[in-house]
């Protein structure tokens, strides 16, 4: 399994009658990487994935897998495997028959097919469950069978459609690590669809954020969190306070940002001097006796590792997070705010 392929989407659109589900999406996915399509429901991410799988054909544009144009090919003539949100295990076949389903018509014999399938099952750690029916497995086990079934055909591309959304929180964390390890081991290119930003940040080499049928921004998890381009991306990946301030450039990369009583240095990202929008992460502010801005606590919540506060300040209402659990503030009390020196990014208009 070492023939991972590059995937390229060139100006791909999909319309159902008047409704445009995907509009002019262009993206290149390097061979052997894991790329996440992230966005709110209805943003077109699943439709994009289904077009790569061949379950929908694009209305416009081209899809290339390993340099070959597959735009008009049916799913069964493409070199892809897919893991469905519902797992889609065939309920009338047992585990080994499910896994062998894809190779059976190509294998020399039934025994041969089942041997290959057994190897795949072993790879996902389910060797002992070959004769069970899918209905007799737990959610996590069903998930693994679905992965084994997709991998057994040694596809160049593996597609995951919200694979963890039916699992509980603990199992989700374990499975996403497992998927990541499996992808590295099997050397396949993976496209992974999710609406969960934590999951996307944790598993991806790169993330493609989609909104309203278009690509909003793409980049590494770090780029997207630390320098979101738009209000939407800033709000969708992590929490953000959207504020206004005045920018004054000081050199080729940095500028001075003033808002309220605060002042800080930030990369100016090519924006002109004057009024700018920026995003301040909840950890950009600290509650500190030495703070220079005063605020009133509207709401406080204890979340175990940290506190979350909603404050009324001269900047408007702010959402901030504080790891100082020893000195939790009372609702209605007055606090002083300081900047932590990170978590502030200018947004392009």
């Amino acid at each position: 399994m070492s023939h991972a392929a590059t995937i390229e989407l060139r100006g791909v659109s999909k319309a159902y009658g008047d409704v445009v589900a995907v509009r002019d999406v262009s993206v290149t996915i390097e061979a052997g990487t894991l790329v996440t399509l992230l966005g709110p429901s209805g943003c077109g991410k699943t439709t994009t994935l289904r077009m790569v799988a061949g379950l929908e054909l694009p209305s416009q544009g081209a899809i290339l897998i390993g340099g070959r144009d597959v735009s008009g090919l049916p799913a069964y003539e493409r070199d892809v495997g897919m893991v469905f949100q519902s797992y889609a295990l065939f309920p009338h076949l047992n585990v080994i028959e499910n896994v062998a389903y894809g190779i059976a018509p190509r294998a020399e014999s039934r025994a041969e097919a089942e041997r290959t399938a057994a190897q795949a099952l072993e790879m996902v750690g389910l060797a002992g469950l070959a004769l069970r029916l899918p209905s007799e497995l737990s959610g996590g086990q069903q998930q693994r069978v679905a992965v084994a079934r997709a991998l057994v055909l040694e596809p160049a591309v593996l597609l995951f459609d919200e694979p963890l959304s039916n699992l509980d929180a603990k199992l989700r964390r374990a499975m996403r690590e497992e998927i990541r390890a499996l992808q590295r081991r099997a050397q396949v290119t993976v496209i992974y669809v999710t609406h969960d930003q934590d999951e996307a940040l944790a598993v991806s080499d790169r993330i493609v954020v989609m909104n309203h049928a278009r690509i909003a921004q793409q980049g590494t998890p770090r780029e997207l969190y630390e320098s979101p381009d738009s209000v939407f991306v800033a709000g969708f990946i992590g929490d953000a306070n959207l504020l206004k301030g005045r920018l004054q450039r000081i050199d080729a990369s940095l500028g001075r940002l003033r808002f309220g009583s605060f002042e800080c240095l930030v990369p100016h990202r090519g924006l002109p001097d004057g009024e700018v929008d920026f995003a301040a992460r909840p950890e950009a502010f600290a509650i500190d006796g030495t703070g220079i801005a005063h605020a009133q606590v509207l709401h406080a919540a204890y979340l175990g590792r940290h506190m979350e506060y909603r404050l009324r300040s001269e900047l408007g209402d702010l959402f901030i997070r504080s790891s100082n659990l020893a000195r939790a503030c009372e609702v209605g009390g007055q606090v002083a705010l300081a900047l932590t020196g990170s978590g502030i990014t200018l947004l392009r208009p």
Binding site: L55, S71, L73, P74, G81, M82, Q85, S86, G102, S135
Partner: protein, 686 residues
């Protein structure tokens, strides 16, 4: 790698070429060109869209040319119509064209789906739409066969159709008014009775309520005229009721049962179960949570029922009314047995084609009027249901208890239901045992002579001799129903799969066509088949083939509906998973969809078999001396006044079908139970 669509084209171009060799030169050349293109080694390297374009252009134009030529050429010039080799050639061209479409990216690029859709559309158009158009054409031609709008208008405006003389007192009303009037009364009565039954079954503690659900099976297993015959045994001139009145009060027996009152009574008996079936689903669909919510808002049982439950049922009630209406105007068996002088459209159509009149144009025009009624009711039904179905069953488990009926409503419902139930039992029982009486009304000596006459088996020189009068039609019916049932179920499931799963251009229209044929009365289908398949290019009147085709396409909507219902419970991602595992559409259908639909397939098989056995209105026009059917034979006996044999035959049919249904239900039922029992001991999934 050779694309699957090209492999399909290669196969069919060769088959088509072989078949075309028995036809004409242009067709041989066309198929030859297609085969050469498909087998040309460079074809694989050609861009898919261009190759597909060539296939569509060549095969599509060839298909259209052959098809149109068959229909356009004057009757005298067509030597033999469409024969077997022509059919195979046409099929080959169709599949080459659909493969071309798949290569161009239609049907998600799958040649199997494209071919299946092409075949299904062709069959449904050829055997549903074309016959209906033939009816329209026949109605537009005058006695000499020339096109004439005037003759259609003349036929449509006859006094016999639209006269209102009965309102003015004296004289008879037109059959169109008769049909409407009867249908409105029947629909109103059936809805009321059906609602009462549904409420009693679901909302009271009546002990017999489980048994009452059996009612829903009755109209499926009984030929439509059985009720009419049972009523004659009770209320006819020589019936039990009249004899009692004459004996006790010396009241002269009358013939009131023949006409509107008897007809209405018979249809109420026949179609109340249908309304009940619809309404029981509606009543059960009203969420108990909503009723409990009303009660926590201080509404008592009566107010809850009036302000919450009943309004929620309203669309379902409208639906039941319209379905009963459609059943009533389509009914042929009861009017022919009980109608007397009260003519309705379906019998009028029958008599204008089999009677002394033999006027196809008139029959076609009457069929158009009936069709207009049916389509209007269908349109209203769609609107009644469209987007306003308040059935509130959700996937969430609901723990609420339905509110018991308020006292007044309960008493009213029971007062309607119990006597009606008793009468139903009497009527059916008499229809079953009537065949054992010497002569009903005069001599009740038990006898088997009617059964012997119908079903006698003697041993002759060559072994068993089926010498009874009914055997011929009996075996023909069983054989044709057995041929038609798998075809109906198979085609129905294929169409359902296309409608439920495959997006393609024109799917909406296709779905509408199959749905609308649900509402078309059988009489119209029958007359349409007579008119359409009596002449080239498809000349099959008098054969068994035309009866089988009629049964298949008459019952197709049932198979489609069962299939769509079953498929909507199957997660679509199962099909898609199969496709991403390198299985083509065909393998997906065979290996994944069909195994999961096995109960639905069994159901569709039984239902189409039973419907094929009991249908009367459509096939009565198509039977011949050689291929007579049970129902047509019984109607013939009734018209001749030979009730004994007719009743004996009916009871045999009913018993046969009840046992068939029970057998199948037992088989399907144990299979399901077995699986659940096997799955249980091994721990529950998390």
């Amino acid at each position: 790698m050779i694309p699957a669509a090209l492999r399909v084209t290669r196969l069919w171009s060769v088959i088509g070429l072989g078949a075309a060799c028995f036809t004409q030169l242009p067709q041989i050349l066309l198929l030859g060109a297609l085969a050469a293109l498909a087998w040309w080694p460079q074809a694989i390297a050609m861009p898919r869209r261009r190759l597909g374009g060539w296939l569509v252009a060549l095969a599509g134009s060839g298909f259209a040319w052959i098809y149109l030529q068959a229909y356009a050429s004057p009757i005298s010039a067509a030597p033999s119509g469409i024969g077997i080799s022509d059919s195979v050639t046409l099929l080959a061209l169709l599949f080459c064209a659909t493969s071309g479409l798949a290569l161009r990216g239609a049907f998600r690029g799958d040649a199997f789906t494209a071919g299946a859709a092409g075949l299904a559309v062709l069959l449904v158009v050829q055997f549903t739409l074309v016959p209906l158009l033939a009816v329209l054409a026949a109605a537009l031609k005058d006695a000499e066969g020339a096109w004439s709008l005037a003759s259609l208008l003349a036929r449509l405006s006859q006094d016999r159709l639209w006269s209102l003389a009965c309102l003015a007192g004296g004289g008879r009303c037109g059959v169109a008014w008769n049909t409407l009037f009867l249908a409105l009364l029947t629909a109103g009565g059936c809805t009321l009775l059906g609602l009462a039954f549904a409420l009693v079954v679901t909302r009271t503690g009546l002990p017999a309520r489980r048994a009452m659900r059996l009612l829903t099976v009755l109209p499926i297993v009984t030929p439509p005229f059985v009720i009419g015959m049972g009523l004659i045994l009770v209320f006819g001139r020589a019936g039990l009721a009249n004899q009692f009145l004459e004996w006790a009060f010396a009241i002269e027996p009358s013939r009131w049962i023949y006409g509107l009152p008897g007809l209405l009574l018979a249809q109420l008996f026949a179609f109340t179960p249908v309304a009940f079936l619809v309404l029981v689903g509606v009543v059960e669909g009203v969420s108990p949570t909503l009723e409990e919510a009303a009660q926590t808002l201080r509404a008592d049982a009566a107010r809850t029922f009036r302000t919450v439950s009943l309004p929620l049922m309203r669309p379902g009630i409208a639906n039941a009314f319209l379905i009963s209406f459609i059943e009533s105007i389509a009914d042929f068996g009861n009017p022919i047995v009980l109608g007397g002088n009260y003519g309705v459209l379906s019998t009028e159509i029958y008599f204008s084609i089999v009677g002394a009149q033999l006027d196809q144009g008139r029959a076609a025009a009457l069929a158009l009027v009936l069709l207009a009624f049916a389509l209007a009711a269908f349109a209203l039904q769609r609107r009644a249901l469209g987007g306003r179905s308040f059935v509130t069953v959700t996937g969430k488990g609901e723990s609420g208890l339905p509110v018991p009926l308020p006292d007044g409503a309960r008493r009213a419902a029971l007062a309607l239901v119990l006597p009606w139930l008793a009468l139903t039992v009497v009527v059916y029982a008499l229809a079953l045992v009537g065949g054992f009486a010497e002569t009903w009304g005069r001599d009740y000596t038990p006898t088997l002579k009617h059964f012997v006459k119908a079903f006698e088996v003697t041993t002759g020189a060559g072994g068993l001799v089926w010498s009874g009068a009914a055997w011929n039609s009996f075996w023909t019916t069983v054989a044709l129903a057995a041929i038609a049932a798998p075809l109906t179920a198979g085609l129905g499931l294929l169409v359902a799969w296309l409608i439920a799963r495959q997006p393609f251009a024109g799917r909406g229209a296709f779905e509408f066509l199959t749905l609308v044929s649900f509402a078309i009365p059988g009489t119209i289908i029958g007359i349409a088949y007579v008119i359409a398949f009596n002449v080239p290019p498809i000349e099959i009147t008098g054969t068994a083939l035309v009866i089988v085709l009629c049964l298949v396409f008459r019952n197709l909507p049932v198979g489609v509906r069962a299939g769509v219902a079953a498929m909507s419970q199957l997660d679509r991602s199962l099909d898609e998973a199969s496709l991403t595992l390198r299985a083509t559409g065909g393998r997906t259908l065979v290996r994944v969809v069909l195994p999961l639909l096995r109960p639905a397939i069994t159901g569709a098989l039984v239902y189409s078999f039973v419907r094929a056995m009991t249908t009367v209105s459509a096939v009565i026009f198509l039977v011949s001396a050689e291929y007579d059917l049970a129902t047509a034979y019984i109607i013939g006996r009734v018209i001749n006044g030979d009730y004994g044999v007719a009743l004996a035959y009916c009871s045999v049919l009913i018993l046969l079908m009840v046992s068939a249904i029970l057998l199948i239900q037992w088989l399907v039922g144990t299979r399901r139970l077995g699986r659940r029992a096997a799955a249980q001991p091994r721990g529950t999934p998390a």
